[in-house]
Symmetry: C2
Subunit: 157 residues, 2 copies
Amino acid sequence: MDNHKKFLQEAINLSITNVKEGKGGPFGAIIVKNNEIIAHGTNQVTMTNDPTAHAEIVALRNACKILQDFQLTDCILYTSCEPCPMCMGAIFWARPKSVYFGNTREDAAKIGFDDSFIYEQLALDPVKRLIPSYHLKNTHAQEAFDLWRETTTKILY
Amino acid sequence: MDNHKKFLQEAINLSITNVKEGKGGPFGAIIVKNNEIIAHGTNQVTMTNDPTAHAEIVALRNACKILQDFQLTDCILYTSCEPCPMCMGAIFWARPKSVYFGNTREDAAKIGFDDSFIYEQLALDPVKRLIPSYHLKNTHAQEAFDLWRETTTKILY
């Protein structure tokens, strides 16, 4: 078995155990750096009342805590299922070098998970989505951005 | 000033204070239920080494903790800036009824935030993104999904 498949199997094992132990949805993820597993994550949405506690988010947050960094440079994420848009967005902010997954978003849709639907929704104009987002004009919102631009001591991320 | 603008101003105030106090990026958010603010969030990415700690995610997680629910039924999210794909994904999982924002993703791009870029990336084929995602076939990933389907005691989310 090649290395990628071996690490993916670890994430899959977590996804199976998570269902068997009744702890949440059928999803597991691990973060690997220098060929070593540095963090794990399983779906904890219902157990912790946290809709963001997807396996990938939990694994990313754990890995960042361990590395004491908000960037996952040179890390690889292995996840039992293709990440949903929330998790994929988190991946783009954490910036690991690549992702390997088992089940696809279509597989997830077949057992009732909305990933595929959310990808479609995000491609729509914000006001036309099922949860609409409205842009309010003539506010002071730009003030924070101006301050940010002028601040010389800020930590970029 | 109408109600939506009044609540959005609260989120904007948080975004301004966050920069002034050197605590993170220029973003703030609040969650409102029954015309009352139930939770706040500010960007805490660099302060907590958590790339997922965007104002909206922090506010959603705080609101869920307060309501002891993983769903934000009948809630409204007010955020100083249009949510990035990660936060928009989280919104679709937490399911508030609507979102109001001040700055746009284009405004965010102008001061160096990748939101707009990530929206473009997510629309691409996973293997063609700058952080590529690879689907490994012939794994046991489906096993967790089969187990989930067969489990009668699961909590749907």
